[in-house]
Amino acid sequence: MNAPTAPFQTYITPPHPRALSNGKFKITASGVDVHYGEKHAIKNLSIDIPDRAVSAFIGPSGCGKSTFLRAINRMNDTIPGCRVTGDIEVDKHDIYDPKIDVVQLRAKVGMVFQKPNPFPKSIYENVAYGPRIHGLAKDKTELDQIVEQSLRKAGLWEEVKDRLAQPGTGLSGGQQQRLCIARAIAVNPEVILMDEPCSALDPIATAKIEELIDELRQNYCIVIVTHSMQQAARVSQLTAFFHLGTLVEYGDTDEMFTAPQEKRTQDYITGRFG
């Protein structure tokens, strides 16, 4: 990995994070810079994210955590004037390699957005859309199976199994977000990126999503951006603290919240700024 160069950068990875004891790194990034036109949003960032664990990105607004998250499945490509340099690898493959098919990448690295954004189609169609465009199902029965499994994994099946033909937009906010998670799961991804998935939800719906995230980590590498430190503490095994476009501190969640090594981390966690 690159040695930290910028004066603000204190890239700290504990020698042996507990969360990593039985895993391997899924995503590795080194020397990543992201520019939005003139704005330098991410400065020389390096991080390793383990598989089968939940990593939380925290930090004040505008610190670049969402930007970095969107760089991992190249959603930033759609933003005009956005430039990503440096090296981001998923499973040791450089995702910014021109040979990489971005469509394949996004099938592998799924995403759940801040605001639930189901397609204005039926619940079934919402989940079936991904498998259909990727040709994951050979026939209707197989597709039905994928839809059911995905909805089950997202904990939504019991609630919607009788109204699959009804529009997804008719569900409640929490249900819509779980539908979006089901939609992301349906294409069989390996990584799920979640951009503040609970910010638009009430506490009960939030609790359900958090429970779901905890279950999903058995099978997926999950990266979640959150504004709630409690949420980070509840659902994640690793936490990364971003500030002003740099990664300030990254490590085991328990240690981070009890004994942060950086003063800025401590100030943020204890609510002195942010």
């Binding site: 499945n73 959603m75 759609t78 005009p80 469509v103 394949q104 990448l105 996004r106 099938a107 799924g110 995403m111 759940v112 957005f113 605001k115 954004n117 189901p118 397609f119 204005p120 859309y129 991904g130 465009i133 990727h134 979006c180 939609r183 992301a184 349906a186 294409v187």
Partner: protein
């Protein structure tokens, strides 16, 4: 301090009331203008939707019809002769001419149709409804002159003067002025069973009169109720219908021979020099063909351009320039597009003149900017979260656009397109430049046959001096408005039906 504040509050409320009043006043004024316009058009146009015809007993003489060439038969002669035969008293040439002038030149068409439909009627007596001429029709619709008929209240004495001097009319007492006694003024017509006289002047207490229909010489006196006075608001010299013709028509009307029916002809025939035969079918078909070409070209091009500009094109100076110019294009006066059509499509490409295909091409250019702008607005209104959601599950940009964004934008695009279509439907100026302003009597058979369109037809008719065309003009405007309102209604329906809140 409080007082000042109260004053301010009162001022604020006054300003608000004033503003509301201005708004309501503006709205009322607009509604008033619109109402006046509509009422005027409807008032003028409604008479064109019905027509008068006279039932004539025609003996279909085999001599005038060649059985091998049924359409070529001399039906005109048959109808005219049958009509003249009903007025045996009319023997002079001018009288006969005046009589047949009441019938439309196309009056015999019906008989031709009947014979072609059933040749067995040749040699038989049939009743044919024969269309009246526009002048006669207007008279019966009381549009050419106001006619008042007053029943005679006194006894009328008629005396024939020696030679060809005409008649003298008096009341009971010879001393008084006959004019006052009888209530007749010079220029008016005196009508009674078997004759009609026109009062020409007053002389020595008598009324002098000339013959319109020669009365029975035996009649010397008529008691009250047996005669009536007919007066016209417009003198005979300024009328298209003479007193004689007016009396014939009155006669036919009294006999119940005149039939007033809905003018299907107006929707079934093309343009004509004869007002009573002119219809809008040709213009309507021309309009449909033209607009069909325009929409078939402009819709796919417009949507494709909008999708590319909105979703795929890189945002740089070139696309900015294109965008500005599309907006400019929407503001170009339509006559310029006509000139372009003339120079490019007719002169350079040598496409046929007056053809719907050229009109459609020109109108396509005209509505293309409108469609592009409306489509871009509709595409922009689809929230980016939908695109993101599709991209997030691994859809390609194209899949995201065509499977998600475009279907959601389609109602908006359709609304814009229909409004553009309505504009194309009502456009006149560019079509004048490419020769769609010609007099075309035939109903266009295809995209390359000569045609005109509805608004141009209105323009053409409004230019004609005949009074009857005024009603036709207003009626054509009514049809045009109905089509445009229907298009707008569809646009509103689509907007309401597929309106989506995010």
């Amino acid at each position: 301090m409080t007082e000042v504040r109260n004053e301010l509050v009162a001022k604020r409320y006054a300003a608000e009331r004033r503003f509301r009043f201005y708004g309501a006043a503006a709205l009322t004024l607009t509604a008033l203008f619109l109402a006046v316009l509509l009422i005027d058009v409807i008032n003028k146009g409604l008479p064109a939707f019905h027509e008068h015809s006279v039932d004539i007993e025609v003996k279909v003489d085999a001599a005038d019809i060649d059985p091998s060439n049924l359409p070529g038969g001399n039906y005109d002669k048959l109808v005219k002769e049958a009509f003249r035969a009903e007025f045996p008293s009319v023997t002079d040439r001018t009288g006969k001419k005046a009589l047949t002038a009441l019938l439309s030149t196309g009056g015999a068409d019906r008989l031709r149709e009947m014979v072609i439909a059933d040749p067995a009627i040749i040699g038989k007596q049939v009743t044919v409804p024969v269309l009246l001429s526009a002048d006669a029709d207007l008279f019966l619709k009381s549009m050419s002159s106001d006619v008042t008929s007053v029943e005679g209240k006194a006894t009328l004495h008629i005396a024939r003067l020696e030679g060809d001097e005409g008649y003298v009319l008096t009341g009971d007492s010879t001393g008084e002025e006959a004019e006052k006694q009888l209530g007749i003024a010079p220029g008016e017509l005196v009508r009674f069973a078997g004759g009609a006289l026109r009062v020409t002047g007053v002389q020595n207490g008598y009324l002098k009169a000339e013959v319109v229909f020669a009365p029975d010489p035996a009649i010397t006196a008529l008691s009250p109720g047996q005669w009536s006075v007919l007066s016209f608001a417009i003198p005979e010299s300024s009328r298209r219908i003479s007193d004689q013709q007016a009396l014939w028509l009155e006669q036919l009307k009294q006999d119940g021979r005149i039939e007033n029916s809905f003018a299907w002809r107006f929707f079934e025939s093309g343009d004509s020099r004869e007002p009573e035969l002119a219809g809008i079918r040709g213009a309507l078909v021309g309009s449909l063909l033209t607009v069909a070409v325009a929409i078939l070209l402009a819709l796919p091009l417009g949507i494709a351009a909008a999708v590319y500009l909105e979703q795929f094109a890189p945002k740089n100076h070139w696309t900015d320039l294109i965008e500005v110019n599309i907006n400019n294009l929407a503001a170009v006066p339509s006559i310029i597009f006509g000139l372009l059509g003339l120079a490019v499509f007719l002169n350079f490409f040598g496409l046929p003149r007056s053809a719907p295909v050229v009109g459609g091409l020109v109108l396509a250019l005209l509505v293309l900017p409108t469609i592009i702008i409306a489509s871009r607005a509709a595409l922009k209104a689809v929230p980016p979260s939908i695109t993101e959601a599709a991209l997030g599950v691994g859809a390609s940009k194209q899949q995201a656009v065509f499977q998600h964004v475009l279907p959601l934008a389609l109602p908006g695009i359709m609304t814009g397109t229909i409004l553009g279509l309505a504009r194309a439907f009502g456009e006149t100026a560019p079509l004048l430049m490419i020769g769609m302003v010609a007099f075309i009597a035939d109903i266009p058979q295809g995209f390359t046959s000569a045609a005109t369109v509805l608004p141009v037809q209105v323009f053409l008719w409004s230019d004609l001096p005949e009074l009857a065309f005024r009603a036709k003009t207003a009626a054509a405007i009514m049809v045009l408005l109905v089509v445009l309102f229907a298009l707008n209604a569809v646009a509103i329906y689509l907007r309401k039906r597929f309106e989506r809140r995010w």
